[in-house]
Amino acid sequence: MNSKSGLAKPTMPLAFETQVGEVKGDLPPLPISFSSYESRIARMAFMLAEHMRGSIVKATQRWGAQRVAVILATSTGGLLETEAVHKSSLEGKTRPNGYGLLRTHSLSATAELLSQAWGLEGPSYVISTACSSSAKALASAQRLIHTGVADAVVAGGIDTLCLLTLSGFASLGILSSSACRPFAKDRNGINIGEGGALLLLERDALGVVALLGSGETSDAHHMSAPDPHGLGAQSAMQAALLQAQVAAHDVGYINAHGTGTPLNDAAESMAIARFFGQAPTVVSTKGYTGHMLGAAGATEAAFCVQALEQGFTPEGLGSSPPEEGLGIRIGLHKAPLKSRFALSNSFAFGGSNISLLFGQGSHA
């Protein structure tokens, strides 16, 4: 893994300064037989699934198509295209060809597309809980396998940049005009990113890393601000470890939600410090990707899987110098990971909290 940030000035014209994590270059169009699903997010989902075609095909051959589910996540769906169609409509222009509410705009279009394109007949749906969405998709996938409803699940999340989302975060006053600096002394806000990650969860999998536990709670505090004491975050972390039957002192790496806003990072630090102390290395990888919203949880789960597979914790890009007195140990440099367990936190609008515990070795 290179310690290189993907954050830069957006190509989209905006009335405010910020940086974004933008997917550069053209995305290949969908195969003609699925062209009714055309959208930027659908192209990203299809491309990600193509990257794991071999694994999906093997899982389908192993378990049968009815036993392979697709649980995806997004917060925007096809909003990028809907913005353009709505604008055309208000201006009295003709609606662009191919736009359809169910297949272009709707949140679930990507899951439907992948199920159809790969012939997967297990349950197929999308979780959309803003910035915790794709971590929750992984937890739903875990339940489907645990309860015997599916044997393998293609799970993850995808989101794309659009004007409404960027303007919405700007209206909340939490966008940083420069690259985000999670947990840093002078952090001043978030950057939005796009893209996604898909993972294949499978019963009796041959991989070295497993999803061992998930904890999901609600803050019941505020729509867009975290509980300042991090109580909901702490209870999510505790629930994930309890389900996995893993002790707090055994966790070596926490991929923090770490958005880079003063409020989020302070509340999350408080929750981690109370429950874990200074033992685990805490890193926010949003300095690489920006905040990928509905895709963040799955992307950060992939960082955890890679850390466990390769035995290192990533550099905390932008976190130096960290704020003093947070009570946690921020990973400023790439370092060896000696623990077999890694935790990933995701928090969201509406006070939605989730923690996922990943493990390697015989425990998994």
Binding site: Y125, S128, R143, L172, M223, G350
Partner: protein
């Protein structure tokens, strides 16, 4: 047996709302007056049906998990935001923005009821009702906690929707763990049903959650046999009464 989805669901309460007059808004009494005044129709609908469902189940308002399901979510709020951006693209109402997310109702209702339990929000197009039940059945089989499943969609969104118009509908279903189920609980089993098709045509048939009204009618009657949750041509799911 591999067609069964989770364990039997013990239904202990139902709520339902659909608009009968153009100006009608759901009472949504779980929300405080200030939140209620600012809430979207979808949030009011969801709050209203949860209130009904937990009332008949005698659930503590802060003591249950929630699964929300909607094909399009906060569509009217989204359109308000898009219309507001036409003049000044960078001028977005922060209040409207934070309540435009798919889990906006979940957040506002959890805050109003101080409910800190599990909550999630699903979407599955025309399969939203079926997939909501799948998520509920797997949650109940894993967590064995009280749960309210809340499903619904607003009316067809103008400008973006090209098909037949439809009205809003929402319903909620309270489930309790098998070990805590009273004698009056209706025991339901979700299963895959190959070739299943939509039960009947209804006035809300074009609403992605339009099947909720016939489902509630089936549950409120003397349900026998099974009820199909899926659209024709899709992988089928149905509910059996045990």
């Amino acid at each position: 047996m591999r067609d069964l989805i989770g364990e039997p669901l013990c239904l202990v309460g139902v709520g339902v709302w659909t608009r009968t007059a153009a100006s009608e808004l759901p009472p949504a009494e779980l929300l405080g007056a200030r939140t209620r005044g600012r809430a979207s129709l979808l949030t009011l609908m969801f709050c209203e049906v949860i209130g009904q469902a937990i009332g008949s189940a005698a659930f503590d308002p802060s003591g249950f998990a929630t699964i929300f399901g909607s094909a399009f979510g906060e569509m009217q709020r989204l359109i308000e935001l898009l219309e507001g951006m036409q003049g000044q693209p960078s001028e977005v109402s922060p209040l409207r923005f934070q309540t435009s997310v798919h889990n906006a109702a979940a957040g506002q209702i959890s805050i109003a009821t101080k409910n800190k339990n599990f909550s999630t929000s699903v979407a599955a197009g025309q399969q939203t009702v079926a997939m909501g039940f799948v998520e509920a059945a797997t949650f109940m089989a894993s967590a064995k906690e009280r749960l309210v499943l809340v499903l619904g969609d607003e009316a067809a969104p103008p400008r973006l929707h090209e098909g037949p118009a439809y009205e809003a509908v929402a319903a909620a279903f309270s489930f309790c763990p098998l070990a805590l189920a009273p004698d009056t609980a209706i025991k339901l089993q979700l299963r895959r049903a190959h070739g299943a098709s939509m039960n009947s045509s209804t006035p809300l048939a074009h609403n992605p959650c339009g099947i909720l009204l016939p489902l509630v009618a089936w549950l409120n009657g003397d349900p026998k046999g099974s009820f199909s949750l899926s659209s024709p041509g899709m992988t089928g799911y149905c509910i059996d009464r045990l």
